[in-house]
Amino acid sequence: MFNRVKTGALAALAMALATTSAFAAEKKLTIGVADALTGGGAVYGLPQANAVRMAADEINAAGGIKVGSDTYKIDVIAYDDKANPTEATNAVRKLIDRDGVKYILGFCCSGSTSAVASFIGNEKAVMLVGNAAERSITTKKIPNLVRTRPPADFTGQAAGTFIARKGQKRIAVIGALDVGFYAQYVDSVERELKKVGSEIIAREVFTLRDRDMTPQLTKIRALNPDAILVVGYVESAAFVYRQAVELGMNIPRYGFTSGSEEQFLRVTTSAQMEGVWDLRPTELDLLSASKNGIAYHANYTKRYNATPSPSSPYAYDQLYVLKAAIEVAGTVDDTVAVARAIRALAIPPQVVMQYLPVDGKMFDVNGQAYTTNGAFQWQKGKWVFVEDLPSDAKAYSQFLSTLN
């Protein structure tokens, strides 16, 4: 009799434990990352993917995402889109169709991002764009797409004002001008230069795979410019800076590249970089960074044994934005509600970049976030933050709203 009671009690206890553990089971939320993990765009894409993984681990360690009484731990699947539109389309289709992913982050490069943006509006998914700077990504009013990086011409306007103030009259441009957002940046710079009577005297092109820019630089040198402006990926831009010195061009060099010290020093020497300006969004830089930025830099460096690229926090911030929005929306399944919540968010306290709110919100009506812009100069082996560049997010947001 005693044994029968004991067995019954144990069975009841086991059942109770099983039921409790079923209710307390952690749920999993799978987040997709589509980014350039190899190839030319990997200098931006790989650090972005790393940043998302790091943010996921931080959020998981802090308890995960709370949705009502449920807690979700984040799992990250990252696919390489090689910064290629076809690969990006395939990667995102795989994430949505095969892996059942509803939230896709990353997107460093404009061509591949634009390809995905063209169909994401028809999907039950939310797309958070990082470093891709092509303006048209946020002019199409796609309700389930937002971007953490400001468009290139928003920064170009600020850069143009800065260069104009320096007093140089004849500027020669060399860059990846067949890439839309670089051309938009230069157009914005030119508009500001014209206001003070300065001009762009040459627009020389290199492709993303070019590494010998001496023919273009020789042509520019013959025009006797007061300064050069270099717009392009870090790997190509680094060669321009190096080869300009090798051709004896001792004039101010401005750029729009967002490369880290480590990335530039793989190609050039610090002496060849001395004095170069990078006029870009105020991305990660230890001299201008907030407490979050300093912690991000330290954690990333420790975890990956490499310094983070300045633009990598765009992706890190995406995950904190998503976490906040899911918690506000109270659902992980209703992507429409989450997308709506993202647009209504104030800037989450955990983000690294220094965002400029529009009407108190992180994203404007176009789904576009804005950061401050800054002038950075290479001084003795490091990018040094010198000053903020004038950046009117509200005015630009209104302008963006007028575009299709």
Partner: protein, 287 residues
Amino acid sequence: MLIEILQQTINGLAIGGVYVLIALGLTTVFGILGIAHFAHGSVSMFGGYLTFFLVTSQGLPLIAAIPIALVVGFLLGLLIEIVAYRPVRNANHINAFIVALGLTMMVEGINLQLFGHEQVVIPTGLSKVFRLGGITVPELRIYVIIAAIVLVAAMMLFVEKTKTGQAIRAVAENRDAAILMGVNVKSIPLIVFGISTSLGVAAGIMVGALFAIAPGIGEGFVVKGFAVLILGGLGSFPGAILGGTVLGITESIAAGFISSAYKDVIAFVVMILVLLIRPQGLLGRSP
């Protein structure tokens, strides 16, 4: 204007030297064995990667890493001939063609696995710049041009003055006659692949030092190498030298005086124009 032309010519000479070395390797293999060795560019880049690895990870000075890479290149050439091309030597030409394509993908994959996806630049420590009048020449480019001249001269001496070189030429001229004259034709393909790959490795080192090595870069160089081959004349060593130099300088001048956006196109247009006038290439023999 004159200074600009001279500067563009000097700019083009360094890259022209790289084209010459790539084309010499290709023309040796094609002229003697009739194989379009598409993997040559990827193998060349392997040499550049290897040099980078020896210098940065093993701490070897560049001057020691280069001969090691050249020797490894030679051995790799032997291996490629034995494993990849020898089995299809007597088969239809399409077999060797497919092997060449497969080998290209394989070597690219090996490069990616061994050395990663990031671009690498071989550190040389050569950053001096020489100025003469209005012309500037970086120290590194001077060394690259000199190295290319020395290698080309050594190759020409080898082919013209040594018994093995004469045997290679004999096989290229008439394989059957060479057999009748007692030439060991079995060893010739081995030597040809060894030398060709070593030249390619030298070109890879130059690309890695001047510019950068990254996945896919080799393919671009092999396309240029074949263009030089056709421009100079198939199987002609002097043609490869002239063709590579002409292509390098044309690219540079086209980018400087016409448009940098079309420099590759313009270089190929020049090639087509030359072929319209001389279908056998600049120094090729009429059929």
